[in-house]
Symmetry: C2
Subunit: 196 residues, 2 copies
Amino acid sequence: MRVVDVGKTAGHHPVPQERINEILVEEASRGHAVVRLKGGDPYVLGRGGEEREACEAHGIPVEVVPGVTSAVAVPAAAGIPVTHRGVARGFTVVTGHDEIPQLPTGGDHTLVLLMGVAALGRTAAQLVAHGRDAACPVAVVERGFRPDQRTTVGTLSTIAARAAEVGVAAPAVIVVGDVVRLSPAWESAEPPVSRR
Amino acid sequence: MRVVDVGKTAGHHPVPQERINEILVEEASRGHAVVRLKGGDPYVLGRGGEEREACEAHGIPVEVVPGVTSAVAVPAAAGIPVTHRGVARGFTVVTGHDEIPQLPTGGDHTLVLLMGVAALGRTAAQLVAHGRDAACPVAVVERGFRPDQRTTVGTLSTIAARAAEVGVAAPAVIVVGDVVRLSPAWESAEPPVSRR
């Protein structure tokens, strides 16, 4: 067995996606059985579909094995269920800003924002501008399930300042919605300044 | 080890949720280590949060292990990535109808509907009434990853008739959005009558 490390970290992609696709095709074309091991789920913002397409374009059959997505698992690590009876019946996972004007605005619909730390302040402001309550709870969960996991909570109006205060850094999963109140981190947090 | 079967199937819940919560508390209170084994992810419409709350209300510590949710895995089984570069950047998972008026309408935002087979025709009509293109692709995936898995495709305007035609039955996962075109089932399907 040979291991080809193409690992990405935030802002650091040593092997471009196109080259990853090529490696998969090259190795399979040599007759090797190739396992493309990814973190999370390959189809949740994981570019698994592109890798599959690259292989299939060369007649290489692909089997996709679903994984545990950080969009659900990292909130869970912080004690936040993305759905919860009487609190939230559905959830949306997004990365960018383009979709914000169209997202459900109720606290009973959970938003999970991936790769959103750098733009947190702007995102929070946009969500409020497009109808979500400024008092809607938010959690930013860093390093989910790791020993140094950290959950920072606030509201749409306070979270950017709080995150800056404690030095939140990517990668982190951001959860917006009433379900955040179910996290032990919410209970133990300092009450947001000038609120409750 | 003792196994207490509380398994649910569509429309058949032999043990009510409240009783499940009680069993967890009773068994743990007797000093047993209790594993509550669930299909999918316990926090994606799995009532895991309620079970955790029931235990914690009795001082019983709980560890939640995330799982592979059918909301992502069953589309994947049909070759549908819920996100795909240039096709869809985000996705929403819902069950009920209440949220339909608020959902993003673009084909580039994937909708995953769980427990939605019985209401498929009504849901499709509502999505169109609230702004989604009647030509938006839809897939209904039954028995994902089982040997008898079946994918039925159509558009918001045709899917209800097609599903009825082939006798689609719960449980199934419904995917709405342009990503459906990436499924092999889409390519091999009969062109929808009077379209393309």
